[in-house]
């Protein structure tokens, strides 16, 4: 592939509530075995991008741990590799990343020292499969300066968190509304861009001189008439997980056979960091229906319409419905959990009761002491 990859994984927002207290959104566990960033990393390796930089800032510990080895995505090669850029103080900058463009500016050396002609920029919070080569072919065919991958969405209530675009019949983007309160557009930017490397360097340097730091507001929006910005429409599954409701819905989507088979069985695969966990164990009273269950769990109770992540213990007579239980959770006997997301490493006492509403999922963080012999 004639491109390098840049993954913007530094962001955080309040819409993830307690879930983002301890990790960047890109490190959110998804669909039992994965972390959100695995999808973009796998897309890049499956598109034969060999050199990938991950830009982190907010609470990167969990993310750094996940990226501690590049072998899971097959990046640890002599040519290329996986680079993680956290903000550092240098002789000419003592700032955090003040925005996406600034993050690129502070790592401009990486862009300058590469020799690949194109750059794929993507975020770490999208759940999708995409061959970036197809987007690049389109980018070249359209003679575009910047190509934005876009998707038509139906759920209007969600529009306020996206950038919306309107396009001509030739797919040239003429209008960009960033996180509008009200809009009559319905095509959103997925935060995936392709741009020529030299042009990107030029635009980023220009923005920095003018003390502008955001890639969308200060580059895309301002240059939309000057440069040829095209939209590449995708029809396949794409979901951005960065609100509690969207995160819950995305995980629950995997109970749908079509979506599950699309990600799990169709080429190409999505890779993740393998934990050496034993198979999941179902004891005598277990009763599990319509669930996605990752490895290393021990189940004694009833679980229905739920997603169980890795290494979860479910006690006797405990009932779990329509919930998501994140990694490494202990749930005692006789507990009842419905419409909840249980934060990872939680310990839920016996006889606990947590009930959320379908339209208002409750986030459970309980760190009771656990005594085991």
């Amino acid at each position: 592939m004639r491109a390098i990859g840049i993954i913007l994984a530094g962001g955080n927002n309040k819409m993830m509530k307690e879930l983002s207290n301890k990790r960047a959104i890109a490190a959110m566990p998804v669909a039992g075995s994965y972390r959100s960033i695995d999808f973009v990393l796998s897309n890049m390796t499956n598109s034969h991008i060999q050199k990938v930089a991950v830009i982190t800032q907010y609470n990167a510990r969990s993310l750094n741990e996940h990226l501690s080895s590049s072998k899971w995505w097959d990046f640890g090669r002599k040519q290329g590799g996986l680079f993680v850029f956290t903000p550092t103080i240098t002789s000419d900058s003592s700032f955090w990343y003040r925005g996406t463009a600034d993050a690129l500016y502070q790592n401009l050396d990486f862009l300058k020292s590469s020799h690949e002609p194109y750059v794929v920029i993507a975020s770490g919070d999208g759940v999708y499969k995409l061959d970036y080569n197809k987007v690049l072919e389109y980018h070249i065919a359209k003679k575009a300066d910047i190509t934005v991958v876009v998707k038509k969405l139906e759920d209007e209530s969600d529009f306020g968190r996206f950038g919306l675009v309107s396009m001509t019949d030739e797919c040239r983007i003429t209008e960009i509304e960033e996180k509008p309160i009200e809009t009559n557009l319905s095509t959103v930017s997925t935060g995936i861009y392709i741009i020529r490397r030299r042009l990107l360097i030029e635009l980023i340097e220009k923005a920095a001189q003018e003390d502008r730091h955001d890639f969308v507001k200060d580059i895309l929006v301002r240059y939309k008439n000057l440069k040829h910005i095209y939209g590449y429409m995708i029809e396949s599954y794409w979901s951005n997980i960065s609100t509690v409701a969207a995160y819950y819905r995305t995980n629950m989507d995997f109970l749908n056979k079509e979506i599950r088979d699309y990600f799990f069985k169709q080429y190409p695969d999505v890779y993740f960091k393998i934990d050496d966990l034993p198979p999941t164990k179902y004891n005598g009273q277990a009763n599990v229906k319509n669930c996605l269950v990752a490895s290393g769990c021990i189940i004694n109770g009833s679980v229905e319409n739920s997603v169980l992540f890795k290494k979860i213990y479910v006690g006797n007579n405990t009932v779990i419905k329509n919930s998501i239980i994140l990694n490494d959770v202990y749930i005692g006997d006789n507990a009842y959990i419905e419409n909840c997301i249980v934060e990872s490493k939680s310990t839920i006492k016996a006889d606990s009761r947590y009930v959320g509403q379908p339209d208002n999922i409750e986030i459970v963080v309980e760190k009771s002491l656990l005594y085991m012999d």
Partner: protein, 423 residues
Amino acid sequence: MIKKEMIAMLLAGGQGSRLGVLTAKVAKPAVAFGGKYRIIDFPLSNCINSGVDTVGVLTQYRPLRLNTHIGIGIPWDLDRNVGGVTVLPPYEKSTSSEWYTGTANAIYQNLEYMENYNPEYVLILSGDHISKMDYKIMLNFHKANNADITIASMPVQIEDASRFGLLITDSDNRVTEFEEKPINPSSNMASMGIYIFTWKVLKETLRELRNQTQCDFGMHVIPYCLEHNKRIFAYEYNCYWKDVGTLSSYWEANMELVDIIPVFNLYEEFWKIYTRTDTLPPQFIGENAQIERSIIGEGTEIYGQVYNSVIGTGVIIEENAVVHDSIIMKNCIIGKNTVLYKAIIAEDVVIGEDVEIGIGEETPNVKYPKVYNSGIATIGENSVIPNGVKIGKNSAIFGITEENDYIDGYLQSGGNIIKAGED
């Protein structure tokens, strides 16, 4: 200069013919175990957990799957700059070329490999044991006794003793006599086939015995060393250890994993067992599924019922299929309304709809009564079972079978259908 205190030599070349069709195309150490593992994962994990980071794996019978499984040893952290895992097949020499003719002969043919690491001690292991043994403790025992050879041993039932090599020791655990598979056993301390040799003693002895045909540790090396007054000690091991060399012991060891708190517990944080796995998605449990007392691997989809069973990775169990007391290895498909009782289904088997397996009276196997003798129906890898047939107990099937292979649609207990050849 390279120096390793102890290196391990893992004997993984045997066929293991008592596992019947399970080892028809794969060496015993590569047979699947416990849902996601292969048998060799246990000694390899024990090595790295014991701090032994240099392991030679001696292969001979059908090594392809072992080779691909081991690779460069990444899953066990055995990819090292110095040492790590090395697969050691028999090789051609300028004057004489031979296969590995016995356990000690195999080690003798690899003296050069061991010499490279300049070891103090060499650990000899078998590739067919399920345990979480700490070889470091055994080494400490060896050093404390200033031993030449330490033999790991465990007490067995006196009725079973004649199947083993037996150790007779004095009060200091020093071995005074050794009986290999005696008819009238005079001890119940059985050798587990795990040895630590002081390198110099091993090298000298193997050179002395180089003309011995089919040179074997139990038959030749240990008796020779006893004769020459070497300091041989018995290290008694009392934790979980299982030789899974027969269909019944293989089945039992798997079934023990589904106990509420298994004696051999894979869920402990300490002493993890590592294996090579494909990046497989989580398992999916369907709307009408029922699972009790079972362990189930990644990527498996269950729409039917599973009781008391060990299910591997990437398996599909269709609606209304019922699996009782069975072991199903990876990527199998069990069709709708099919019922299994006490069966072992090897990798990549496709079983049709409305099939019944493991039914009827228990009668001895007509051709291999010593192999298929514990009531288990065994189906070899890549086999296909057509819709609607019935299969009895103590039976074996291997290959792509069709309806007319079954007389009146029923393979009676003790029957065999072996269709797949050597290739």
